[in-house]
Amino acid sequence: MIKINNLDFAYRNTQVFKNISLEFEKGNIYGLLGENGVGKTTLLKLICGLQKPQHGSVTVDGLIPSMRQPDFLQNVYFLPEEVITEDTTPEKFIQKIGDFYPHYDFALFNELMKELEVDLSKKFNELSHGQKKKALLACALSLKTDYLFLDEPTNGLDIPSKALFRKVISKYCTDESTIIISTHQVKDVENLIDPIVILDRDDVLMNASFAEIIDKIYFEYGPERLQDAYYTEMLPGGYINVMPNTEHEESNVNIEALFNAVMKNKETIKNLMK
């Protein structure tokens, strides 16, 4: 389990987190959402030990990431958004880093490269952006760490690859794994991410499972704009109204509308979900 307690973090004079507390539980694929610059990547860096909290604590199964102990590092992988352009093939790259990870599975790497249709003979700097992303994803998944953090993993992927991405992540998820996907492309990971974490400047606005969201919030698809909705948006053929779930009915969560509703009613929804 990842536990974040009363965390403060700032880059020089820019405060990113102020007294935030948050937990990530095993067996889940978390979707980490938030507007540009709220600190999604910084949070992932703090959890994997690339940054150090200035106040408060971050622990992963009781270990402190910033101490960078081998026991911790061998069980965590962070795939950043920017792709590396090393003058080496993905195969050589994974063989070089694989030995540091006890569950590393080279056969799985080959299987994934085939499934994702990446040319095995090419070096990273000879692959297209999308191909590079897929090669790095194959590398990340073949390390089989319990903790896997993906920053904007679907950027640059073509349409069939996005469906394939959802399949391989669903396959990767076990009772022991914690996957966090930071993204703006919520359509790409719809039905895959659950729970949803929404970050704001200095704050955490939501950390809730779909079951909890459905229980508290109702997504009404209808012909009109409703007055007491948290948020309303016109869709082809009508409106989506994000409402308090007063009738205890179950509806289909629309993540984009949920996000917009939360951004427009920060305190109200934060209190509602408590």
């Binding site: 959802r166 669903s170 396959k171 998820c173 719809e190 895959l192 991410i193 179950e250 289909n252 969560v253």
Partner: protein, 115 residues
């Protein structure tokens, strides 16, 4: 499978499994795919599939056997059909009747359509 509509995804997956039982893909006593397998097939969070399976179990459409996993219950088809019939009568028919009234369609016109 295309996800859409107003129903939560886990209920859409529930319907999806029911359809596969009705179509004869899974017969009574047959093993159905595991939560994991269906999650991968649909590219959906395994926890969501689990919720759908819990409901299928609750409705006694599928059950677990140790060492086998989930299998289709004896009268699964009948249970699904009776549930769908109930839903049709309670939800779709009133909607249908409302539209008939709105468009001024008489019951005789509907009957005459059925040859």
């Amino acid at each position: 499978m295309d996800f859409n509509g107003h129903k939560p995804i886990y209920l859409q997956i529930y319907d999806h499994v029911c359809e596969r039982i009705l179509s004869g893909e899974f017969h009574s006593g047959d093993r159905v795919m595991s939560v994991r397998e269906l999650g991968i097939e649909l590219g959906v969070n395994p926890n969501t599939v689990m919720r759908a399976f819990e409901r299928l179990q609750m409705k006694e459409i599928i059950a677990t056997k140790r060492g086998i996993g989930f299998y289709v219950c004896d009268d699964a088809k009948e249970k699904i059909l009776s549930e769908q019939k109930k839903d049709f009568l309670e939800n779709e028919v009133p909607e249908f009747l409302k539209k008939m009234e709105l468009y001024g369609i008489k019951m005789e016109e509907i009957v005459s359509l059925q040859k």
